[in-house]
C-alpha cells in the first residue's frame, strides 16, 4: 500500500543522465590530473615541499579563500548550470564567464533553466565558451612577450580592474528576465531576496562609514562566504512569502 502512494523515482532526460554519469567520470579524471601535475613536476626537480610547509597557519588564510569560494560556487551555481555544471566547474571562471553564458544561451534559445532543453543549450553555451577561452588564453600565453605592453597602458589596466561591476551591470536585466520566461512565471520573486539586499547593503554601508572605501571594497573578497550565509536566508524568506501568497507562480499571460 505504502509503495503505491510513494512517488515514482524521477527518470532523468538521457542527456542529463549522460552528464551525471560520464560528465562526473570525466571531471574526476581531470581532477586527478590537476592534483597530480604539480607533484610530477616538483618530483622531477626534487622540490616537493613537506606537508607542514604547505598546510600551516600562514597559508590557511589563503586556503580558506579557495575553500569558501569553492563551496559557495557549488551551492550557488549547480542549480543554475544544471547538468553542465561538471564542464563549467572544470573549466573555471564560473561567475565572470560560464554562468552569464549559460543564462544567455538559455535566453537566446527561448528555453527555461533547469529543464532538459534548457540544460542542453546551457551545455552548448558553456562548451563553446570553454573552447573559445582556451584558444584565446593559449594565443595570449604564446604571444605574452609581444603583448606585455598592453598591460602598461593605464586605461587598459583600469578597465580590466572593473570587470565584475561591468559584468553585473550588463547581466542584471537578464537575471531579472530569466525568472519570467516560459509558460509559467514567478511573480514578485525579487521580494524573497529583499532581506538579503537589506542585510548586505547595511554591512557594506557600515564598513564604508567605519573604515572608508578600503574596508567596503574589501567585502568583495568575502563575497563567497556571504553568499553561503545569505542563500538560506533567501530560501527561507522566499518560502515564507510563497506561503503567504506574496510570491506566486502564475501563467505567463496572467502576468
Amino acid at each position: 500500500m505504502s509503495k503505491n502512494t510513494k512517488s515514482a523515482p524521477k527518470v532523468l532526460d538521457p542527456f542529463q543522465a549522460w552528464c551525471h554519469r560520464w560528465g562526473r567520470v570525466g571531471t574526476v579524471i581531470a581532477l586527478i590530473y590537476m592534483v597530480a601535475l604539480p607533484f610530477i613536476v616538483l618530483g622531477s626537480f626534487n622540490s616537493i615541499p613537506a606537508f607542514g610547509e604547505v598546510f600551516n597557519i600562514t597559508t590557511f588564510g589563503l586556503l580558506i579563500i579557495y575553500i569558501a569560494v569553492g563551496i559557495s560556487e557549488a551551492l550557488s551555481y549547480i542549480p543554475i548550470m544544471g547538468s553542465s555544471a561538471y564542464l563549467g566547474f572544470i573549466t573555471g571562471n564560473i561567475m565572470n564567464l560560464k554562468v552569464p553564458v549559460a543564462i544567455n544561451a538559455i535566453k537566446t534559445a527561448n528555453q527555461e533553466p533547469s529543464t532538459p532543453a534548457g540544460d542542453a543549450v546551457a551545455a552548448i553555451g558553456i562548451a563553446v565558451s570553454s573552447i573559445v577561452t582556451i584558444i584565446i588564453l593559449a594565443i595570449t600565453a604564446l604571444l605574452s612577450s609581444q603583448l606585455s605592453f598592453l598591460y602598461d597602458i593605464p586605461a587598459f589596466r583600469t578597465a580590466s580592474d572593473y570587470l565584475i561591476p561591468a559584468l553585473f551591470g550588463s547581466m542584471t536585466l537578464g537575471l531579472f528576465a530569466s525568472t519570467s520566461s516560459g509558460s509559467k512565471v514567478v511573480k514578485n520573486g525579487i521580494m524573497g531576496v529583499v532581506p538579503v539586499i537589506i542585510i548586505v547593503s547595511l554591512i557594506t554601508l557600515g564598513a564604508r562609514i567605519m573604515g572608508g572605501t578600503e574596508a567596503s571594497t574589501a567585502i568583495m573578497g568575502l563575497v563567497g562566504p556571504i553568499i553561503v550565509v545569505m542563500l538560506p536566508v533567501a530560501i527561507l524568506s522566499s518560502w515564507i512569502m510563497f506561503k503567504k501568497g506574496i510570491i506566486k507562480v502564475v501563467d505567463n499571460d496572467k502576468k
Partner: protein, 240 residues
C-alpha cells in the same frame, strides 16, 4: 637546488599543461556534440542552436580578453605557464589574482617580483599545491551531490509543485542580491561602472524591441559590458 624560475619555465611543465588543456578541449567537444544532438531531439531548431553557438562565442570574447589581460598580471608573480594553466582550468581571474597578490607576503617576500627572482623550487611547490588543492572544495559537493542537487530544482515539475520554480529562481536572485549592494555601496567608481553597463543594456534592449534591430539582442551583454569597462577610466578621472 632548483629555483622557482627553473620550474616555472620548465619544458616538462609546458608539456603537462598542454596535455591537460588538450583533455579539457576534448571534454568540451564531447559535451558540445552530445548537447547539440539532444537539443535537436527536444525540438530546439538548428537556427536557434546556431544562434546559441554564435552568441556564446561572441559574448565569451570580451570576458576572455579580460582574463587574458589578467594573465599578464599573474605572469609577474607565477610565470607564464602556470598562470595560463590556472586561468584555463578551474581557476577564476578574481580569486587567482587575489591569491597571487597575497602569496608573496605569506612566503615572506616584499613583492611578487622579488619572489619570482629569488624563491626556491620548494616554495613554488607550496604555491602550486595550495592552488591545486584549494579549489577542490567545490568538487566535494559537485561530485557526490551534483546529480541530486541539480535535479532537485528541475522546473519540469513546476506545474505540480510551484514552490520548485520559486526555489530554482532563489539562487540567481540571491547572487544578484549579494553582488549588487556591494558594488553599489562599496565604491563610487564600481557603482558608476555597474550603472553604466546597466543603462547601456537597458537602452540596447529597448532598441532591440524594434524589428529591424532585433539582432542587437545577441550582443546586449557583450556591448554593455565593454561600455561599462570602457567607462572605468572616465569614472576614475572624476571620482578617483
Amino acid at each position: 637546488m632548483a629555483t622557482m624560475k627553473d620550474i616555472a619555465t620548465s619544458p616538462l611543465l609546458l608539456v603537462l599543461v598542454a596535455i591537460g588543456l588538450a583533455y579539457i578541449v576534448a571534454f568540451s567537444v564531447v559535451y558540445l556534440m552530445k548537447a547539440y544532438r539532444r537539443a535537436l531531439e527536444l525540438g530546439v531548431t538548428k537556427e536557434d542552436l546556431m544562434r546559441v553557438i554564435k552568441t556564446s562565442a561572441v559574448s565569451t570574447i570580451v570576458p576572455a580578453i579580460s582574463i587574458a589581460i589578467g594573465l599578464f598580471a599573474l605572469i609577474g608573480s607565477l610565470g607564464t605557464i602556470w598562470s595560463w594553466w590556472r586561468l584555463s582550468v578551474i581557476g577564476s581571474l578574481s580569486y587567482e589574482t587575489l591569491f597571487s597578490g597575497n602569496i608573496a607576503k605569506v612566503l615572506g617576500y616584499m613583492s611578487s617580483a622579488e619572489m619570482m627572482d629569488t624563491a626556491s623550487g620548494r616554495e613554488f611547490g607550496i604555491i602550486m599545491i595550495l592552488m591545486s588543492v584549494g579549489m577542490l572544495s567545490g568538487f566535494l559537493i559537485l561530485i557526490p551531490f551534483g546529480k541530486k542537487y541539480a535535479t532537485s530544482v528541475d522546473k519540469s515539475q513546476a506545474d505540480s509543485n510551484p514552490w520548485k520554480m520559486v526555489f530554482s529562481g532563489c539562487f540567481m536572485l540571491c547572487l544578484l542580491a549579494v553582488y549588487v549592494p556591494i558594488l553599489l555601496f562599496g565604491d563610487t567608481i564600481q557603482a558608476a561602472v555597474m550603472l553604466t553597463g546597466l543603462v547601456v543594456a537597458l537602452i540596447l534592449s529597448i532598441l532591440a524591441q524594434k524589428p529591424k534591430l532585433a539582432w542587437l539582442n545577441d550582443f546586449i551583454m557583450a556591448i554593455s559590458m565593454i561600455a561599462g569597462m570602457a567607462s572605468a577610466q572616465l569614472w576614475t578621472n572624476i571620482f578617483g
